[in-house]
Symmetry: C2
Subunit: 522 residues, 2 copies
């Protein structure tokens, strides 16, 4: 992955001149004053790790699997939020660990965690490194060092139970590789988040990821049947059978634990027969509220497409401008249908009938197919916007249907007011990309001019938006996680006694407090 941005450097995009002009005229974006520094100019803290500690860690994983060179440290210094990228581009890799440790097995991971606990070395569990909420920003203050435990050597399909439709993977398996391994046997996991091309399965579990096809395949936390976790206090193995009443579901404490309770090393997930065909449709609704009513109808009464997304007027307008389609002025719905060769057309026809009945106007399927083709490209576009002197960032929530439209307006207003007051009026776009019978997610994309203080400016806007979310009955995050960014609000979501429950579990599994300090647990 590009050290200062997203993904494969070969896939970098540049903005068309017309867009640059538009950014300048509409948002006051100025050509970037601070292009990314050269990699060689990045500053990072002097490595602090005691030689005795390095030697002990190397003993568990083998010397070639303990990396303390500058490149490895920079590549584990931060996640991929816009704030992370602004700092890296400015040459600031102050979050870099002292070393990167690459265990190949669960037992090696246990050994590493035990040694770090004894020596009070902080640990950042590291999967694909794609956190956008500061999930990798462990606070090293008070520790004798900071190491990233990167799971990338723990990959592969451990077993497949084709009769029960379950598969067990090592947690470091890249999502792409998991899909390839399953496809070879006729199956799919069906989990395609924005981070798909870079993320790893363990990270999906640790952050409660949700993919673009969640309507059809569910959230990642719903896919997980069993987990194996290495903690400083030993191994946890959870999950027997499809469902249980054997007390509280402790898997749900590991799911979403963001590396603060342990390192997930293996997981068993539900799989599905691979679709033989996928069809996409595009629809236009007159307003966001009309679109919400339509996708709610499908979520509550069916038929529910595999992918179902609704863009608001602003996002639809930008999309129409970029790709030239006739949804502008209204709201674009993209629906995707996975199915068998025989089943997919009736499925899509039923979806079309429901969307038409809900007041939609059908557009060319190519618009939906275009969305699918570019579904993992947005982060590349963000790099181009940063290059052009803009900030572009996303945030998200979920709430019940009855409060969805009001919450969307409140968050949009909060973002607009905050950034406008700072002299950089933003473009705020929103879409609904995950629907449930009882509510849906809201995903906001914000573009504004980047001034000298862009990190602080975005921080203020994010705070305003998060206050609006919590005040308006939304959850702090639908699928990005808590990290350090949302941690100040977590007590408002789960209450002081909820925070104490987290602390009690953490204290038992990680008594030395070495795991991802500062992340998740207030």
């Amino acid at each position: 992955m590009l050290w200062s941005g997203w993904g494969d450097p070969e896939k970098a995009v540049t903005l068309p001149p017309g867009v640059v002009t538009l950014l300048e005229q509409a948002l006051g974006v100025q050509p970037a004053e601070r292009p990314p520094v050269a990699l060689s100019e990045v500053t990072l803290p002097p490595p602090k790790l005691d030689m005795a500690v390095s030697s002990e860690l190397a003993m568990f994983v083998g010397p070639p699997n303990l990396h303390s060179h500058r490149d490895a440290r920079i590549r584990h210094a931060a996640g991929r939020s816009t704030t992370d990228l602004l700092r890296l581009r400015a040459g600031d890799a102050s979050g870099a660990p002292d070393a990167v440790v690459l265990p190949a097995t669960h037992n090696e991971t246990l050994g590493v965690l035990g040694a770090c606990a004894r020596r009070r070395v902080a640990v950042v569990p590291f999967g694909g490194g794609t956190s956008v909420v500061g999930g990798l920003a462990a606070d090293r203050a008070g520790y004798s060092g900071l190491v990233a435990v990167d799971v990338r050597r723990m990959t592969g399909l451990v077993s497949l139970d084709a009769e029960s439709l379950t598969a067990t993977f090592q947690a470091g398996t890249p999502a792409v590789e998991a899909e390839e391994l399953l496809a070879a046997k006729g199956f799919t996991l069906g989990h395609f988040p924005q981070s798909f091309q870079w993320a790893r399965l363990g990270g999906f579990a640790a952050t409660r990821s949700a993919g673009q096809a969640s309507a059809g395949y569910g959230r990642f936390d719903e896919m997980v049947l069993a987990l194996k976790v290495a903690t400083p206090e030993g191994t946890i193995e959870l999950g027997r059978g499809p469902s249980s009443a054997a007390g509280p579901d402790l898997r749900q404490l590991i799911l979403g634990s963001e590396g603060a309770f342990g390192v997930i090393t293996e997981l068993t997930v539900r799989v599905h027969p691979a679709p033989e065909r996928t069809l996409y449709q595009a629809w236009r609704f007159g307003s966001f509220a009309e679109g919400v009513a339509a996708v709610r109808e499908l979520a509550q009464r069916g038929p529910l497409p595999t992918v179902l997304r609704l863009s608001d007027e602003a996002e639809t307008g930008v999309d129409a401008g970029l790709h030239g389609h006739p949804a502008a002025g209204g709201c674009l719905v993209v629906a995707g249908y996975d199915g068998t060769s025989a089943g997919v057309e009736p499925f899509a026809a039923a979806g079309a009938a429901a969307l038409a009945a809900a007041g939609g106007t059908r557009l060319d399927d190519a618009i939906g197919e275009g969305w699918a083709a570019g579904r993992f490209d947005a982060p590349y576009l963000r790099d181009a916007l940063l290059d052009a002197g803009a900030i572009a960032e996303t945030l998200e929530t979920a709430t019940s249907w009855s409060t969805l439209v009001a919450l969307k307006e409140a968050v949009t207003a909060a973002l607009t007011a905050s950034l406008s007051a700072q002299g950089t009026p933003p473009l705020v776009m929103c879409h609904v990309s995950h629907v449930y019978p009882t509510g849906a997610s809201l995903y906001f994309t914000v573009v504004a001019a980047a001034r000298e203080n862009a990190v602080a400016a975005w921080g203020a806007a994010k705070k305003a938006a998060t206050d609006a979310i919590v005040d308006g009955g939304g959850t702090l995050t639908h699928h990005h996680g808590v990290g350090v960014e949302h941690r100040p609000w977590l007590e408002r979501e789960i209450g002081p006694l909820g925070v104490e429950m987290l602390r009690a579990v953490k204290a038992r599994l990680d008594p030395a407090g070495i795991l991802n300090p500062g992340v998740l647990v207030p």
Copy 2:
């Protein structure tokens, strides 16, 4: 509820003479030597509660809502397992609390728990009282008293969000009343476990109940969106929106907590438009394995009926004998379809096509309708069997599809061997009543002659069956809960560190350890 058995005494049934003869011939059942004692002969421990404690508790709930009379104590002395009933029928109410406290509000509950914690009085949270795993058998040793906190004054629909399909209830609402309140507004919860006529919503949540229509409406734990809980350390309120990535899902620690972490006082659940019609079908499959393959096909590929049950040959034979139908020699499948007036027939037709394609022979719909009509009657039949000198008890598990048939055989063998070795060869029947894409539940009903030592004899058989379940990859319980009965095996299910996680949470929420001591947490 009948103090020594199940339900409404007016609905008691007697066994037909032919069944009595059959029990005698096939299982060696002798006419009961120990009919239930008279209520006046029941012995219970002398009340131990200090007058100062009683006065303080009465202060929170009002004197008329603190019951320490004999009748109230006996009616809160035990759950409804066969072991519970054998003891009660013998006049043993040694589990009776010293008093029953009836708070009317969340704040009264908080006050009661706080006072009990200060004075080291153990508390049994009491809902419908229908536990079959010793969930009400709190261990009073070392406490200054034992009180039942009965939630039956906290009832009613707090709010309904028809747009989001959610409803908030007080946790003491009886399931029957919840359905009536929802039906008046055109909705249903769709949760119909065996205990439906007596259980209360809070108990469903505390035990992870699953109802007979779980294929259509899900398990109760899947229905719960938000919870309010009173603990000795204060209030917990959890759940915002349809789905969240804001860290571990702490609701899942309360669901299944069986009164050991707090008293659930309010809950928000998903509701559904009430079905306009329900159709039932009955099918015959040649063998249990063929039936399993068929219900698996429906669970994995659809269409999935609202109710889907498969009885093994033994259960089918008994059912055919009792109700006179032609499934004997094979395995009965009952499928139920909830739908709209227009939609239910196509739905049932699609189910029928799938069951026929899977090799089923359709029987008269009246057999399925008969199952539905008698769906809550089995516990009455148990009382009649106890009266007749037999023991009748159930146990259950769940496992993946690939191990289901083998686990069913192993558990049947373990029960048969244990009871046969004790001189009372049993009839063991089994059904699949909850199906998932990845596996299903197994529900066993055991009938055998009751000898003098029936409690110990069943205890040995239950131990053999539970060992077989855990050894065979099943979960300890699919929907009955842990209670005191399954507690010795919980560590095998969740591991020693899993047990420590439960203990850490309990220590934080209930530092005095007053909540349901001995239940759930090893």
